[in-house]
Symmetry: C2
Subunit: 500 residues, 2 copies
Amino acid sequence: MPPRADLDLPIRIDRGSRVPVHQQVAEALRRAIGDGVLAPGARLPSTRAMSEVLGIARNVALVAFDELYAEGYVEGRPGSGTYVARDLPAAPRPMKEAPISSARWKARAVAAPIEAADPPGCISFRLGVPSTSPLAPEVWRRMWREVGDREPPSGYAAPAGEPRLRAAVAAYLGRSRGVTCSADELVITTGAAQALDLLVQATLDSGEAAAIEEPGYPTARRILQLRGARLVPVPVDEDGLRVDSLPSGGDAPVLVYVTPSHQYPVGMRMSIGRRLALLEWATTNDALVVEDDYDGEFRFGAPPLPALAGLDRAGRVAYVGTFSKILMPGLRVGYLLAPRPLRERVMAIKRLTDYHTPWPEQQALAGFCERGELERHVRRMRRYYAENRAVLAATLAPIAELARLRGLEAGLHAYLELRDDLDPERVGARCRERGVVVSTLADYFAGPPDRQGLLLGYGGLDPHDVRNGATVVAAAVRDEASCTGESTVAALRGRLARAR
Amino acid sequence: MPPRADLDLPIRIDRGSRVPVHQQVAEALRRAIGDGVLAPGARLPSTRAMSEVLGIARNVALVAFDELYAEGYVEGRPGSGTYVARDLPAAPRPMKEAPISSARWKARAVAAPIEAADPPGCISFRLGVPSTSPLAPEVWRRMWREVGDREPPSGYAAPAGEPRLRAAVAAYLGRSRGVTCSADELVITTGAAQALDLLVQATLDSGEAAAIEEPGYPTARRILQLRGARLVPVPVDEDGLRVDSLPSGGDAPVLVYVTPSHQYPVGMRMSIGRRLALLEWATTNDALVVEDDYDGEFRFGAPPLPALAGLDRAGRVAYVGTFSKILMPGLRVGYLLAPRPLRERVMAIKRLTDYHTPWPEQQALAGFCERGELERHVRRMRRYYAENRAVLAATLAPIAELARLRGLEAGLHAYLELRDDLDPERVGARCRERGVVVSTLADYFAGPPDRQGLLLGYGGLDPHDVRNGATVVAAAVRDEASCTGESTVAALRGRLARAR
C-alpha cells in the first residue's frame, strides 16, 4: 500500500504480517519521529482521522498512541491533541547501509581463511573432513536421546568442562595415546582451534615469536597472527620439525606449534629422537610446545610413537586433541592437557570467551565414550579409512614415476609429491576441469615453498569416490607430464632451429 | 608389585589394567630410557630373562622390544642383543609437578571471576540463572530427538551460524523486540559473552578506551580488561546511562557497553531520550554502541521501549541477545546483529576462535523456534517470573522503610536499595548465616560505589523459595536496623556519659 497523502505520514499496514496492527502504526510513527519527518512539537493526526484514513479500528490507533506516550515519544493525551515530544534530541540522520568505515575502529586486518565452496557434484579431496556415514544411526540417536532424557540444568557448567567427559577423555588418552593424566588436568574446549587459541592467549604477548612447521596448518598460523605473534617458520624433513633450526637463547620463540603424530600437511611422523630433542630445546629455552594430535587415532601399520605429552617430564608440553576427526567437526568439541599454572590461565580466559563448551554436546559425548562407543567407532573408522587409503595407493601406483604418494602411515589425507618439472597448479586445474577438487601444497607455506605437490584428503569420501577421484588425478598428472614433455621437446626444437 | 631387583628395571605389570602387557613393558622401558635410568648404549636384558623375571610370555617381551626398535629407542635385534639407542639426545630431567613459573610467558594476570559455589541446601538469589523446571520434558526431549533424527554432517558449518536458526532469530527479534533484520545480518555465537568478546576484538586495540555502566556487568568489564581496554566507568541514574558524562572528541571511547532494557544490575530501563542522545553521541564521536539485551524478554506491566538497534539509522549499534535467560545458560547460544563491515570482522575472528557454534544445539533451537515453542515458553516464563516477582515484592513490602525494592519492571532480578545507615555486607552475612545467599551491589562497581544495596536474583527459584528467602532477607534487614539503632543509641549514651 502506498503512503496515504491525505494523512501525510508514511504508514503502511501489512495485514498479512504477524506484527499486530497497533505495533505497525506505533513503529511507523516512531520512525517518522526518529527520522525527523515529524519534528518535535508537531501535532499528530487524531485517532479518529487515523482510523478513517488507515482503515483501522479507532481503538487500535489509541493503543498505538498510548504506547508512544508511555515511551516518551509524544506528549498530551489522545482526545485533547497529541504532539511529538519537545525534549527529544535531534535524531541521527538516516543512512541507508551505513559504511562505518570508521578510522577509529581497529584497522588491523583479520586474515580470513580462503574457503571456496566445492562445486556441486564434484569429488572433493578436501582436508580435515571425516566420514560420518559409518556411524550407526542408532548410536547417534542414542547420544541425543540421552541428552533429551536428562534434566536441563538451570545454571552454568564448569569452564573446564563436564567431569563425566573429562574422565572419559583421560581414560581414552591413557589407553590409546599413552598419555597418563587425570580428569582434573583436562580442559574441554569448543574445538581444537579454541584450544590452540586459548593456549596462545595464555602464553604469548603481541609481538613475541612463535614457531610453526613449514609447511604447516594454516589455521594455526592465522590464530597466531590474530594474537599478534611474530611467526618463525621452521622447515620439516623426513623426521619432522628440524629442531636444529629453532632459534635459541634470546631469539627463542615463546611457543612452538607441532603436529608430531601426522605432520600437517605432508604427513610424516616426528621421530623419537626429534621428539626428545624438541623437549630438551623447550626446557633449555623456557618455551612451550603445543602438540596438536588432530588425527593421531588413525594409524595404519606403523606402531604408535609416544606423544610428546607422554614423554614430557618438565611441564613443557600442552597437548591438544579433538573429536572433529574421530566423530565430526560440527560437534566442536576438543580438549587440552596443560601444566597446572597454564591450565588455570586458560580456564580464566575461557570463562570470559564462551564461559564453557555447551553442555548438551559434552553430555552426548560422555555417554558415547562411557558406553565404549568411542573406541568401537575408532576401530570401525580405521578399517574404513584403511580401505580408502589402499584404494588411493593402488589407483595412483601406476604414476609412481611422476608422483609419489607420501604420509600414508597415519591420518586422513596423503601428500602427492610431484616430479620437479610438473606444475601442481596446472595439475590441480586439470583435476577441477574434470570435477575433482584437490589442494596444492603451496597454500600451506608461510614463506616460499621448498617442495611441491598436491594434498589428497580421503577422509570424507567413500572408497568408490576415492577410486574415481584418484583415477582423474592420475590422468591429470599424466596429461600434464606429456604436455610438459611436448613443450620441452618443442622448446628444444625451437632452440635447435634458431641455432641452425 | 615392587621393582624386581634381579632385573634392575622398574617394570610393574598390572594384570587388572586394560593396557595390554606388551604395552606396559614397552612404556616402562621408554620411561627408564627417557629418565636416564637406562643410558644410551646400555644393554637390555634378553627377552628370555624378561619373560622369566616378569612372569610373561616370551612373545610378549618380543613384541615390546619390536615396538621400541621401530620407535628408535633401541638398537640391535632381539636374539643378538638389544641396546639403548646411542643417538638419543639426553632426556630432560624428571621434574614432578613442574612449576613452570616461566618469566617469558605472558605475565599479565587474567581477572578471574569470583564465583564461590553456593553452600548446599541454601536458597540462592544468584543473578543470571533462569528456571528450567517450567520447560515441559516432552518439549525438551523433542528438541534433541530431532537432532538424533538428522543425519550428522561430515563438514564444518558456516561461522555465522545455521541458516535455519538465524532465520528463526531474525523473525523473533522483529516480532518481540521491534528489531527488523534479515537472517544474513545475524551471527550465532557461543553465548552472549562470546558475542561481546568478538565485538571488542573487532573494534578495539589494546590501550583504547571503552565506556561501561557504573555499576555494571562484571563479565563485560573483565572481557574488556582481557582485551586491554582502558575502562571509562559512566554513572547511571533513573533514566539509564548518563550520556552527558561520556567523554567526547579525542577522549571519546571507541565503544560503549550498555544494557538499556534492564540495566545490569540496578534494573532501570534507559529512557527514550537517553537512547536517542546515546545514538547521537555515537554518530558524532565515531563510536560503537554495544546493546546487551540479555533479559529484555521479561517485562512486567511496563510497555516495551524500542531497542537501540531498532532506532539506529547510522550503523552505530551492535545488538547482543542470548538464549541463556530465555531457556538455559548451559546451551551457550547467543547472537549478535551488527553493521556489515563489523559483522565480517566478527565472523573472521570467530572462524579462528571456535570456527562455529556447535551444530547440534543450533538445530535443536531452530526446531524449538520454528514450532513456536520459543514464544510459548517466553509467555510461560513471564507468568512464572511474574509470580516470583509478586511474591518477592509482597514479602519485602513490610520493610519498605528500611529497604526499597527497585528494577522490578523487567528481568529476573531486583535491586534492594538499603537505607543509608544499613551496611549491605552485614545484612548479606546475616542472610548467609540463615542459609540465604544474596549479592551486594558493591561488587558491581569498577570504582567507588555511589549507592548501596543487595541484589536479588529470583529467576532460578520457585515461588516457595522466593517467599522463604525473602522472609529471611526481611528479617536480616530488620535485625541489622535494630542493631544499628542500638549501637547508635549506645554511641550517643557513651558520648553523653563522657560529656558529663
